[in-house]
Subunit: 550 residues, 2 copies
């Protein structure tokens, strides 16, 4: 049946993504300029031992055309993990690049994430298929999934399936974990002389897959702009109605990049940064008192309204809450059947009896609704589902209680009415901004060049991103270079280091210097919705985080 | 201190709103062409008796310039009720129109809504002031408020304050209630020979202030486009991740226009329409079973995901819930002190003892969290705060329970994981779409023409809105024409009739014809964010509701 598409989708289908000059000029058969051998950022000996075939590779840069054509290539691609705007353009860029290498090249898309590779579920792309998805949001072109590709059995199956189709290169589009696994697969394929190369692509709206060579993970630009649009609208509403405090939780479990970027785009009264909470070992009570203090000060200035941003993962960075969650995980996993058989009242009592004094105190000081979220919403392993804890409501309730105490003491005379919001799913599948559309298309096109040059264990790297696209630098970075060892479930594992908000970095320090002013003055900025067709200073501007970092 | 503004705000400040040809060509000194005398839509004798001075006035149309200049005018303006995108442009249009009549004209803005008029709190606009707010969202230019202007004491104060400033005309920008009160003020001013005229302007994102002469209330276009953007993004996410059902509650207490418009823009799997629920006397259990049935059917087709839209006011249209809420309001208001003194367990028992059997049954079948929302969240009059009931969570919980029963019976084998959203504050203060920017500016400019022609008790009317702006028809409609009598708190009151979704209208009937297909097929449409600078078919398209109605 003929699906209708919206006017914007129609207009956007005609957008021609911009490419780095070398990719646009010469097509994909490029000569890879090899730099000096590289090292991992830490734990060099261990990482080298784990990746003997893919360790120490040189940084690759593309500057001029290859000496001769390389012939048709058969490649496969998967989308891995959570959605991010621009994934479709990575695939479109990869497809166009492969076709430019040789019109006979073929691209297969494995369905539903990494499991598509092991289950051998795939589609073969053609022009009509790809054209339907150019410059669109979502991962619906082939779906995504969270299966971890990490065992040798899985790798053997992948190799077998690829060989059956004649596929000699795989592109894995994912976050830090997926790219770590891409590197393990590359190493295994090299060890087994499988003839299959593996290239990664940096995806995540969270913005925590970045370093000297990866200036941004794709999707961060679009997602944070969508959230900033909504925060701006809510600020304008708060400033018009002048009677509500809005608490906005923003997606981002590990890093607070999204909250920080949105703060720079909108200038809200309060922004919590998980990395700062962790460093200062700030307790929940201190966080609550700090917010309540701002509410009180604003109220004294006649302003019973405001906006506060809360990163999704905050609660895990609050020391006593982290301890409580860990204890609850152990306790409930070990006593699942008994616990489930108890009445509600006995559940609370059971938990309080078994927890350490500190955690029992932390648990008891939480609002009842949050206590139940901690006890009831557990994953199949019995773990507390941190992402389902309504931290924004928790803060509203506790701030309200603190203010009500202060009111009884005569310290506070205002009115506190709060509204909660959570933005995450609203931005993960937005149509990519011009930046993400260009960047993603370039990442994919560039991946085809990496494939053509025969390297493996690399991540597609497009740099110099604060400049216009024709000045972007195309190349590849060895995945091992970004790795270190981290303790996971009692074992040392090689992983790509997550980029958290740096407390001595410019984005955070600028925020610090403005925080007091933003708390009291209403310096709200209203970014409005992403624009695709207007003046370049509106449509092509990158994130403030990246501008400050480079 | 110098506030920074976003790139979009900067670019948007330069936008020149489009006007109907007669307003653009001749400026504001226009000759009012008077039609035949009019009647109220119902209760003609009663309305005539209540409004002897403003009843039966002719419809006004502007077609040609006035014979002679009328000199400088002093006018005042207020914003009344909830925010709607474009309010600032009404004021800008009014200001520009008054200045065109005579450069010596003055416009005062009364602060914080109707109470600004009685408290005599105001600002005087000048060019710099107005320029800062052109084409922006929000009501922060002068604030808004919900004070009702309806007593003769208030009217006397308004007249006194206006006379002190030399103001001879007031423009009241508001919804149905505010325009009803504008008409009462117009009548009173005429009766007292105060020399003050009153003009209303049709505002509300809910879209329920419309009729033959008022084709749309301003703000509905922008707000529903913002919500549709987010719903589209969520649909793309649902269709990519393929594991969540998203339940989206949308602002709109009385009418379901927003939900219906968003359904037409996005084609979700389920859309509830309150007017249909009321007409069919659908019970909550029937609603839940209907949704659960769609979840089950989709699951059988391998789709454990979907999107459902829920109008904010739904619960009040479900017959047994309406009855329950009414009984709770009476019960808790009459026994407030006693009720508050009870323990939680006794509160539930008390309520169940005192409610009718039917309501007690309805109450007991609700999830505990919703029972507490009904009991705990009461306004100062003891009434249940319907807008705070998390209907989207209520439905998720009850659909989940139904599916879990069906699973035990072997009727259902799927997995139901749901995420809830509420969109309201996200859209009320968005920067107005081109349509709302043009329409609002025209409404305000047109209001200055109505002032110049000396009429009172009129609402600013700009019609023919599905055509380009230069073909729009400018004029005024007597407010009494839109009135009927309604029973409020045991008394007959004259009010402007709310426009609910018409079950024999084209927007609803088209929806009905698509509903089954949308439920099962994934015909999602992704409208994307409002565009201000692109191709006209993207930037200037009006709501689907209006296109279908005209």
């Amino acid at each position: 049946m003929a699906k209708t598409i919206s006017p914007l989708q129609k207009a956007r289908a005609a957008y021609n993504p911009k490419l780095p000059k070398v990719l646009a000029a010469h097509g994909s058969a490029l000569k890879a300029a090899m730099g000096a051998p590289t090292q991992s950022i830490a734990d060099q000996n261990e990482i080298k031992n784990l990746f003997p075939n893919t360790y120490g590779l040189p940084v690759v840069t593309f500057e001029e055309p290859a000496d001769k054509p390389i012939g048709a290539v058969k490649a496969g691609v998967i989308l891995s993990g959570g959605q991010a705007p621009g994934g479709h353009n990575v695939i479109a860029g990869l497809y166009d690049g492969l076709k430019k290498i040789d019109a006979g090249s073929e691209l297969y898309g494995f369905l539903g994430g990494p499991s598509g590779l092991t289950d051998n579920k795939y589609v073969k792309f053609d022009d009509a298929f790809i054209n339907e998805y150019r410059n669109t949001g979502g991962f619906d072109i082939i779906g995504s999934g969270r299966t971890k590709l990490e065992t040798e059995e899985q790798f053997d199956t992948v190799i077998k399936n690829c060989k059956a189709l004649g596929i000699t290169s795989l592109v894995i589009i994912g976050g830090d974990d997926s790219n770590t696994n891409a590197c393990m697969l590359a190493e295994y394929c090299a060890r087994m002389n499988s003839g299959i190369t593996v290239i990664g692509c940096p995806k995540t709206i969270d913005g925590d897959l970045k370093n000297e060579w990866i200036e941004a993970s794709f999707g961060f630009d679009t997602a944070s702009k969508v959230y900033a649009e909504l925060i701006g609208n809510i600020q304008r509403d708060a400033n018009s109605a002048k009677k509500y405090w809005h608490f906005v939780k923003l997606m981002g479990r590990s890093a607070s990049h999204i909250a920080l970027e949105c703060a720079h785009q909108t200038h809200p009264n309060v922004t919590l940064i998980s990395e700062e909470v962790e460093k200062n070992k700030t307790t929940l009570i201190e966080i609550v008192k700090n917010i309540a203090g701002i509410v009180k000060k604003r109220s004294a200035a006649g302003k019973n309204f405001g906006v506060a941003l809360v990163p999704e993962g905050l609660i895990e960075f609050v020391p006593e809450m982290k301890k409580l969650i860990n204890e609850l995980n152990d306790l409930l996993a070990a006593n699942a059947a008994h616990f489930d058989s108890l009445s509600d009242a006995h559940k609370i009592q059971f938990v309080n009896t078994k927890l350490s004094h500190e955690s029992s105190h932390a648990f008891s000081s939480l609002p009842a609704s949050i206590q139940w979220q901690l006890l009831a919403d557990r994953d199949p392993h019995g773990n507390v589902q941190v992402s389902r804890i309504e931290t924004e409501k928790l803060l509203i309730e506790m701030v309200g209680e603190t203010l009500s105490e202060w009111k009884d003491n005569g310290e506070y005379k205002g009115k506190f009415t709060a509204v909660n919001h959570f933005f995450g799913y609203e931005g993960r599948c937005a149509a990519p901004s011009n930046f993400d559309a260009d960047y993603c298309y370039s990442l994919g096109y560039n991946a085809s060049s990496l494939i053509a040059s025969g390297v493996t264990g690399y991540i597609s790297s497009v740099r110099n991103l604060t400049k216009p696209a024709d000045q972007w630098i195309a190349g590849g970075i060895p995945l091992t270079m970004m790795m270190n060892l981290e303790r996971r479930h009692g074992k040392d594992k090689p992983v790509i280091k997550k980029a958290l908000v740096e407390l001595d970095g410019k984005p955070y320090k600028e925020f610090l210097s403005k925080r007091e002013t933003w708390a009291m003055e209403d310096e709200y900025q209203y970014p409005g919705p992403i624009q695709y067709f207007g003046p370049s200073e509106v449509c092509d501007v990158t994130t403030i985080t990246m501008q400050m970092e480079h």
